[in-house]
């Protein structure tokens, strides 16, 4: 079995995903696919791409579903999901070969394709279902947090961010050091009540989700009255009130 770093990395790079403004457009998923299919874990194989059962390896997938509310209303949720780069990553400790590991320098969880034997124990261990087995290559793959992009000196500084983050049209994705309480992402998480996904699993995920903001629904939500007060009766009675109005062009 494989060990986690002896002490928790000080730098914990991760994503903060705003569920209030994710519109479920799949931009992050597809931009991730195009970067990573030529990246560290290349390729992100597609099985039967033009056939009867098109499927393949994706590091990031969007789930859209309806949730019934307490008072009979319901909410449509768009939920992007990728590896959460956990502090206590069960996918690492379960790995029999050391292929699945967590980097000391930034906390990113990676798979070493050279030593992965494709036993899939990690995918059973991950409570989030965030691992992607490449059945064509026989190895496990997963989100690399674009480790070959975020530090890449061959790219403009502005491009040195995970593909899913810089491409998000709604601006619903953020990236930074969640190990530093004064970082921008940590401030954002604190301000918005960012939360861990399934904390009861005890994996201490690095990625955080920002909950939907309270909705301005129903009477009084904007400070407006419930209805306007009529000044004139239905029909033409209004015109007597309006006929003497002096308005300037």
């Amino acid at each position: 079995m494989t060990s986690l770093p002896e002490r928790q990395p000080e730098t914990k790079l991760g994503l903060v995903i705003d569920l209030d403004i994710c519109v479920g457009c799949h931009a992050c998923a597809v931009n991730c696919k195009e970067w990573n299919t030529g990246g560290h874990s290349a390729p992100l194989t597609d099985y039967d791409p033009y056939g009867a059962d098109p499927s393949g390896v994706w590091f990031n997938r969007i789930h859209s579903f309806e949730v019934a509310g307490e008072n009979g209303d319901n909410r449509t949720v768009h939920f992007p999901k990728s590896c959460l780069h956990c502090d206590d990553a069960p996918c690492v400790t379960v790995c029999p070969t050391g292929a699945s590991y967590k980097r000391e320098e930034d906390g990113i969880v990676l798979v070493n394709a050279d030593t992965c034997i494709g036993c899939k124990l990690c995918s059973w261990a991950c409570p989030y279902g965030a691992r992607e087995y490449d059945q064509d290559e026989g190895v496990m793959k997963k989100c690399t947090l674009c480790v070959d992009k975020i530090y890449n000196e061959n790219l403009d500084v502005e491009s040195r961010v995970p593909a899913c983050v810089s491409t998000c049209p709604a601006g619903a994705r953020h990236f930074g050091n969640l190990g530093d309480p004064s970082s921008d992402v940590s401030l954002l998480v604190a301000a918005r009540g960012g939360y861990d996904l399934m904390p009861e699993q005890g994996c201490k995920p690095t990625n955080k989700y920002l909950p939907p903001r309270p909705r301005k629904t129903g009477p009084g939500a904007t400070g407006a009255p419930h209805a306007l007060t009529p000044q004139v009766a239905d029909g033409g009675g209004a015109f007597l009130r309006w006929i003497d109005k002096v308005l300037s062009r």
Binding site: S64, Y101, R249
Partner: protein, 996 residues
């Protein structure tokens, strides 16, 4: 590797691999949004496509479609050589031919037509982004029969907007995301322009100051993140808008000042029933509209800045007749109790209390949350204003309004609501994008009144008709165009009626044509109503001659789409990464509210197939036909360098060409200026786009802002810098109505009079969509709608290897309660029946849908074998189109006449009028969608392999050995986040400004 198998091997991660040999900028074409992109090339292949951060449209972001461009470029559905049909039409049997032969054939067919009767060429160009060129080509050829896809997309929004505020929603306007306090979106699913809308919603919600209301029968996408979703019954948005106006008028929550300053509300309308000018504006001798000046107690020019105009009252004109301000007619209509919230609630499917509350919220935002910008500006009359004051209510509307047969009036009603609230082009409101607004009705009128052999028509084939004399009809009222655009059947069909071309050409109504020439329009499938019938028309022969009723069909497309088998000559186009293009201000520009912009595409890869860009081919055919504008005096081609040559050297008017940036010999001018031979180089150096940000004092009140109007006139967008008055009341509509009442030289034939009288009301009206009126509510109790998923919106070729993994089959979505009533459970297979036909589909139940509405994702269903997909692809076994059960014609009138299934004003295809019933199918019928069509033959293709696709595997290299530098934090909507989260610095993405 160590010899000890139990020792953990440390992976050396290459954090700085080389990524690209070259990065080229160009413009995306995966939808109509037209974002700037950077294409990373490695070993001659595409490594990565990234949004261009400097581009005004997308500012660095890129949607799912754009990110899937790699798979579109290498698609095995790409055509590879010109094709000539050898079998029966529809069988898909072709032989490959050389380009020279293909061009010879096309030129032979077309020159015969041009020298006899140019109308017999119908050129319809679908999702063409070069309509300024293709339309001009058609006019040079001499045929009026040209249009693109606007007639089946959004002409109701374009025409409704232009007739009312001189601009429109659609892609020609946008909310003031930064300042708005109330954003209402009507009938917008995943509509373009897709990235700016997503970005705007993200910014607005991050700022947290505004309420976002989505009015839509279906709660997906944007509606899912709205503060409030109003699940309206389809086709009733107009009634809802009327009820909101009713409430606002009754409470006097109206921006009186805005109405008198900026709209025709005070203009006096002649009240003289039976007269030839009844309902027109009263004018003085100089032609100025009149108002009644309350201070002077006299009639005065309504255009004067010095009057105090009355908004109500009856006034006596110089000739003794009576007139009333147009506002009075508007107010009378919407104050009527028939539009009270209680009266419309049931039909709209919206509780009356909700309607009353929304009206109160609109008024609260508009009148209690005024936005004031400290920007000095000068109004149209030359008066200095020390600040800009806005009513921060913004609106956006699109196809949910547009694709109904009452869409034109509904669109106008929404603009009326905006004007009453004083929120058009003000801080916090709706904003025009350059080059709008344009004066109503200064838009060019359609040409084609006279057609003669070997002679161009007098102007552009499409335009805005503003009075009966503009119509393209014979003396007896017969339409002059094959699609019957600009005829009494659809008088203001500004974008033509592409959806009717095949039907009319097949029927020879109003006349037979010879050649149907189409580009980038899948009319053999998801772009046509009544697909089974359309395929029959395309293959139908005249029994007397044995010839096809549509004798010749030329088609240009890059891909093996469902239309291909139905053409006789195929001209294979390139992909968007292999071509030059221009996104022109003369066409559908990519501007923003801050200023004008245009862009180009440059080839980033060379075609590996024998294909040519359609625009090059069209210019070549034009030169061989010796069309006047395309040939020099000596008969040689005017644009021998093809489309890029045209983009630089063509001038529509002196100094005005397809591209507005870097004009003038040294590139120092924009808008207007001499041809610059280095123009394309300047575009490429700037990332393939040009953008000019207007000074802040020109950015609002553009319809009445002297500085802006002077600028707009100087660059040729408007003829002269006069105030552009917004039209609450449309005199132009009344002119058509007067013709129906027997006035004027051009009058509708008797069979159309009643319809013109009914639907050319100068003040917006509401009526139930035509199909709902025509079929029984008992037999067809449900509305049926479609929308496209965001990852495929306004795109074509959704056979994309990556995108089809997200959606490859479609279900019919039904509300739980509705399904329960019909005994239908989730995953059941059902028949969906309209008055026209039936389809079989599988069910998915949901809650977020109007209970009287069923819907599905459109254009997922594919014909078996099309796009070179496996015949067992889910797109054909579990995908379906509702198109099959939508008729292109309305049910017969009493006299047997059938109008197009379209808006009576604009001819906009009424896709969303569809009414259906649903019933569970027999158990043995489950498992396969119906109808199924014969498989298209497989075509050998270049590109991706059939087996597992390992794209990108070859980009892995020996490690660079570099470990890279620091990471950079990225905050989405950084500037807006900084306003709400203390400590976060403003800026963009990972570039904070003045980080602590």
């Amino acid at each position: 590797m160590s010899l000890n198998p139990f020792e953990t091997v440390r992976e050396v991660v290459d954090t700085s691999p080389a990524v690209a040999d070259e990065i080229k900028t160009t413009t995306c074409y995966m939808c109509a949004c037209r974002c700037g992109i950077k294409v990373y090339l490695r070993d001659g292949r595409i490594r990565y496509i990234e949004g261009n951060r400097d581009h005004p449209i997308n500012k660095g972001v890129l949607c799912a479609k754009g990110s899937a461009g790699i798979m579109q470029h290498y698609s095995p559905a790409r055509l590879s050589k010109p094709l000539l049909r050898v079998g029966e039409r529809g069988a898909g049997e072709f032989k490959e031919i050389e380009w020279e032969d293909a061009l010879d054939i096309a030129v032979a067919w077309l020159s015969e037509i041009r020298s006899t009767d140019p109308r017999k060429l119908a050129l319809f160009t679908g999702r063409d982004q070069s309509q300024a060129m293709t339309g001009w080509w058609a006019s040079q050829f001499g045929t009026p029969n040209f249009a693109a896809h606007g007639g089946f997309c959004s002409v109701n929004m374009a025409a409704g907007g232009c007739f009312t505020i001189g601009g429109s929603f659609w892609e020609f306007g946008e909310p003031d995301w930064e300042h708005t306090r109330y954003f209402m979106m009507f009938g917008v699913a995943e509509d373009h322009d897709s990235n700016p809308l997503k970005a705007g919603i993200g910014r607005l919600k991050t700022l947290g100051k505004a309420k976002f209301v989505s009015v839509n029968p279906i709660k997906t996408g944007y509606s899912a993140v709205a503060d409030e979703w109003i699940g309206i019954r389809p086709g009733t948005d107009g009634l809802f808008a009327f009820a909101l106006m009713h409430e606002l008028l009754r409470a006097e929550k109206i921006d009186w000042q805005y109405l008198v300053r900026y709209t025709n509300a005070p203009w006096l309308v002649i009240q003289d029933v039976g007269a030839e000018d009844d309902g027109l504006f009263a004018r003085d001798a100089a032609g100025n509209p009149l108002c009644y000046d309350v201070t002077q107690q006299s009639l005065a020019s309504a255009l004067s800045a010095e009057v105090s105009p009355a908004l109500v009252g009856e006034y006596t004109l110089a000739d003794g007749r009576k007139a009333v301000p147009s506002f009075q007619l508007v107010a009378e209509r919407y104050l009527d109790p028939q539009y009270a919230p209680d009266a419309v609630a049931e039909r709209c499917g919206i509780p009356a209390d909700t309607i009353r509350r929304i009206a109160a919220e609109l008024a609260h935002a508009a009148f209690s949350q005024e936005v004031v910008l400290d920007v000095e500006w000068t109004d149209w009359a030359g008066r200095k204003q020390d600040k800009m004051v806005g009513r921060p209510v913004s609106m956006h509307a699109m196809r949910g309004i547009s694709a109904h047969s009452n869409g034109f009036h509904t669109c106008r009603a929404l603009h009326l609501l905006q004007m009453l609230l004083g929120s058009v082009d003000v801080p916090g409101g709706f904003r025009y994008k350059a080059p709008f607004p344009k004066p109503i009705p200064s838009f060019p009128k359609p040409a084609g009144h006279t057609v003669a052999p070997n002679t161009p028509i007098a102007g552009a084939p499409l335009g805005m008709t503003t009075e009966p004399a503009d119509l393209l009809v014979e003396a007896d009222g017969t339409p002059k165009r094959i699609d019957k655009a600009f005829s009494w059947e659809n008088p203001i069909s500004a974008h033509g009626l592409m959806q009717m071309v095949i039907h009319n050409a097949w029927k020879g109504d109003p006349y037979p044509i010879d050649t149907l020439f189409m580009y980038m329009a899948n009319m053999g499938w998801n772009s046509s109503m009544n697909v089974p019938g359309t395929l029959k028309m395309l293959t139908d022969k005249d029994p007397a001659t044995g010839e096809y009723k549509i004798p010749r069909i030329i088609y240009s497309d890059a891909y093996y789409s469902e239309m291909i088998p139905y053409a006789d000559l195929i001209l294979p186009d390139t992909t968007y990464l292999e071509r030059w293009d221009c996104i022109s201000l003369l066409d559908r520009p990519i501007c923003s509210a801050e200023g004008p912009a245009d862009s180009i595409r440059q080839p980033v890869l060379k075609p590996d197939r024998d294909v040519r860009p359609f625009q090059d081919v069209l210019l070549e055919i034009g030169a061989r036909l010796r069309l006047p504008g395309l040939t020099k005096e000596d008969g040689s081609p005017r644009y021998p360098g093809g489309y890029p040559d045209y983009m630089v050297n063509h001038e529509r008017a002196p100094g005005i060409g397809p591209l507005a940036g870097w004009r003038g010999a040294d590139g120092g001018k924009h808008g207007k200026g001499e041809v610059n031979p280095n123009q394309l180089q300047r575009y490429i150096e700037n990332g393939c786009f040009w953008h000019y940000e207007m000074p802040p004092e020109h950015q609002y009140f553009k319809h009445a802002n002297k500085g802006y109007l002077d600028y707009a006139a100087s660059v040729g967008w408007i003829a002269s810098p006069q105030q552009i008055v917004l039209h609450l009341y449309s005199e132009h509509l009344q002119k058509f109505r007067l013709a129906a009442r027997g006035h004027g030289d051009v009058q509708p034939p008797n069979e159309h009079r009643q319809r013109i009288e009914a639907y050319f009301d100068p003040v917006p009206i509401w009526y139930a969509p035509f199909e709902e009126q025509a079929v029984s509510g008992e037999d067809f109790p449900l509305h049926a709608l479609t929308q496209r998923p965001m990852h495929m919106y306004h795109s074509w070729g959704s056979q994309n290897a990556w995108l089809r993994q997200i959606t490859a089959a479609n279900r019919l979505f039904i509300h739980h309660a509705t399904a329960a009533k019909h005994g239908i459970a989730d995953d059941d297979w059902i028949w969906v029946t309209s008055h026209h036909g039936r389809v079989k589909a599988q069910v998915r139940l949901m809650d977020g849908v109007n209970p009287e509405t069923v819907w599905t994702w459109n254009a997922i269903g594919k014909r078996k074998g099309a796009w070179n997909l496996d015949p067992k692809a889910p797109e054909s076994t579990r995908g379906f189109l509702l198109n099959h059960i939508i008729s292109e014609l309305l049910p017969e009138r009493k006299d047997g006449f059938r109008y197009a299934n379209a808006d009576p004003v604009t001819g906009q295809a009424a896709w969303y009028d569809l009414r259906v019933r649903i019933e569970k199918c027999a158990p043995e019928e489950a498992g396969l969608t119906t109808p199924q069509f014969d498989a298209m033959p497989k075509r050998t293709a270049k590109g991706m392999p059939r087996g597992p696709l390992r794209y990108g595997a070859t980009f892995r290299r020996t490690p660079s050995g570099k470990t890279g530098g620091e990471h950079h934090e990225f905050i989405g909507n950084r500037t807006e986040t900084a306003e709400t989260v203390p400590g976060v610095a403003p800026g963009h993405g990972n570039r904070p400004k003045g980080k602590k």
